[in-house]
Symmetry: none
Subunit: 249 residues, 2 copies
DNA sequence: GCAACCTCTGAGCCCGCTCTCAGCGCGCGG
DNA sequence: CCGCGCGCTGAGAGCGGGCTCAGAGGTTGC
């Protein structure tokens, strides 16, 4: 399977230090999931290719020489660990993000994270995948755009992704996991209106069956913690969605 | 087997006093283990190459001129000690870390380590290997980064790696082996959330088949000893992992 | 051979988190 | 000015992650 789709990304292309675009190979036997993932990553500025099994993954890797690989551990032909070795043989410095089922306890993840590689468990949210991939790239020092470190800033609101710490005006703001991911999405898209559907698609896992109503709920939680008693930064755009803006004075 | 992998490390590259990167040769006939080891060492800032048997090890050493060698005593062709002699012929000041089975001939190992080299018994944890290697380098005065000595400090928490001694606010904290290694990992990654899987991959031996539950257990032990009655430094990040932070005031 | 210690398993409990539901406020259009 | 519907928020149920205790098995040291 091979999907070079030159759609212009929603963000400026991620580039290596030499200016060429970053390439990622997505390997999953579920074509729907591979499609969703590649769409999201393309939107993030990656050049994406997909593969459906281990053999074609290695073949595609040889051709593409990807900077990163998103790799399902459970593949129809080979297991992920074998693919990993082949990938490293092709390109030794490749970053790998594994996808693994939560209940498949012994998926042979042992030792994976030791080399700096990482993994997420299904079902995951797209923000999760994107963030982990950014983390890998940053630690490997590969992306020019990520060299400024793991800190996200909008106005006096600061998020340290590695420490999972958020401060507003220097004061610590304690957030739950979902609140954190929602805020991260908002902070990565400041001054930009995000619809509830967009938020749902990116922050909640792809198999979430619930109502868009939860988004309102979590926005309300965030407001209580982030805007509490201060000049509000989270704004509702009726009929359209939500925006995060630095306070204007 | 030959894997020069120039991946940017998760930590700043370890360098010699002249600024060139430190090189290590990993020799083990188990490719999975060699893969995991080389990943971990590369992440630590080493330039790594691997070999699967004695003959290719010597060949690789001649080419690479490594500063250190991680060497399995049991090899398919030659035994580790013969390889050692060849290595010393190539480079007399090379540091060697032996990997050996628990029930191996202790006296021969003892003879070897008298020369300043060291060994760990299988199954080992990655933290163990990494730490031993750092120790060798430090004593040999080879690494620029390690010249400041074997002391690790986070807030008022101090660890002397060589003496295996930990103090908090000047008070001695007595730790078991596993507790010590877990704390070392946390102290080498302050302010950074580590997932249970990451902790398991580094602190527990690679063949450990158990549950991530043990991590919680040992965190709880550490808390009783390190945080006991004091301002806590070990924090849980629900759904993500654990962080060690100096007390903020 | 025994005692002390360490490591790990299992069970049970607690509590924070997530989500559903329902009622209300309020903006906006008629 | 009124009514509708979107959005907001409080209450609470259910769940699952995380903590702790108790105890078995293994190892070390005396």
């Amino acid at each position: 399977m091979n999907t070079p789709r030159p759609r212009g990304p929603g963000r400026p292309a991620l580039t290596r230090t030499d200016g060429t675009p970053l390439r990622v190979l997505v390997v999953d036997d579920d074509p729907d999931l591979a499609e969703v993932l590649s769409g999201a990553l393309r939107y993030e500025g990656w050049e994406v290719r997909t593969a459906g099994d281990g053999v074609s993954a290695v073949a595609a890797a040889r051709e593409l020489l990807p900077d990163a690989v998103v790799l399902d551990v459970m593949l129809p032909d080979t297991d992920g660990f074998a693919v990993l070795r082949s990938l490293h043989a092709v390109r030794p410095d490749v970053c790998v993000l594994f996808l693994t089922a939560r209940d498949a306890v012994e998926d042979r993840i042992a030792g994976i994270t030791a080399g700096g590689d990482d993994y997420v468990t299904k079902p995951f949210s797209l923000e999760e995948v994107v963030a982990r991939l950014r983390g890998l790239l940053r630690r490997a020092g590969m992306a020019r755009q990520l060299e400024d470190g793991p800190r996200l800033t909008v106005g006096d609101l600061v998020m340290d992704e590695e420490a999972r710490e958020v401060t507003r005006g220097g004061e610590l703001v304690e957030l739950s996991r979902t609140e954190f991911e929602l805020l991260r999405l908002l902070m990565r898209n400041p001054r930009r209106v995000l619809s509830k559907a967009q938020i749902l698609d990116r922050v909640w896992s792809y198999d979430f069956g619930g109502q868009a109503h939860v988004v309102e709920l979590y926005i309300s939680y965030l407001r209580k913690k982030v805007d509490a008693g201060r000049e509000p930064m989270i704004h509702t755009v009726r009929g359209a969605g939500y925006v995060l803006k630095p306070v204007t004075r």
